[in-house]
Symmetry: C2
Subunit: 114 residues, 2 copies
């Protein structure tokens, strides 16, 4: 039985992205952060909607027009397509585990079916 | 900020289903159980695939052809369409919180867009 809280990456290194499920139009992934944040000069600006749920740890997420959110486990929000956003902080002393659901309605970014 | 672990239902009563997000082809819901199980004579037999993630509590899930799984927080699995399944147990002394993603590819059950 796969478990979201197991097989965590080592603390030092890049953010870790694991695809859990991919269907036409939808992709679910686990993201593990360990103190990383999005570079201020390279925010996310995606062509698709993304729903994120913070499961463990803590983070701050800035969303254009909406300000900065401090996220605790259980917090979730939808980030609409083309809404510029940036993770400004993730916990430095513990892993921060996210679940992200990408709604890839744009054919250009529809992932292959599994 | 909505939080999956807040606004839990009272302990006595029915299982609680809250729709978090609905798109053409995809529906995400939170389910809170408190000791309930699926009646043996009325198992689930769905026309669509469902991905489930157990977030808190514990449960046992029987899936036809696959046996019984004991689920702990973080465990997740895909239940294919038409695969008969049944929740045989959920924790009696604490809420069991699930995240369910329904892939409603069949037009008959595509939910309305929000």
């Amino acid at each position: 039985m796969p478990n979201l809280f197991k097989d965590l990456p080592a603390t030092a290194g890049e953010e870790d992205f694991v695809e859990l499920l991919s269907r036409p139009g939808v992709r679910i992934e686990r993201i593990v952060s360990f103190g990383q944040s999005t570079p201020p000069d390279a925010p996310y600006d995606q062509d698709h909607d993304e729903w994120v749920l913070l499961l463990r740890g803590s983070a701050s997420l800035w969303v254009d027009g909406d300000g900065e959110h401090n996220l605790r486990p259980g917090d979730h929000l939808m980030i609409p397509a083309k809404r510029v956003h940036r993770v400004t902080r993730t916990a430095a002393n513990e892993p921060t585990i996210w679940l992200a659901v990408h709604f890839c309605l744009d054919a250009r970014i529809t992932p292959p079916a599994t």
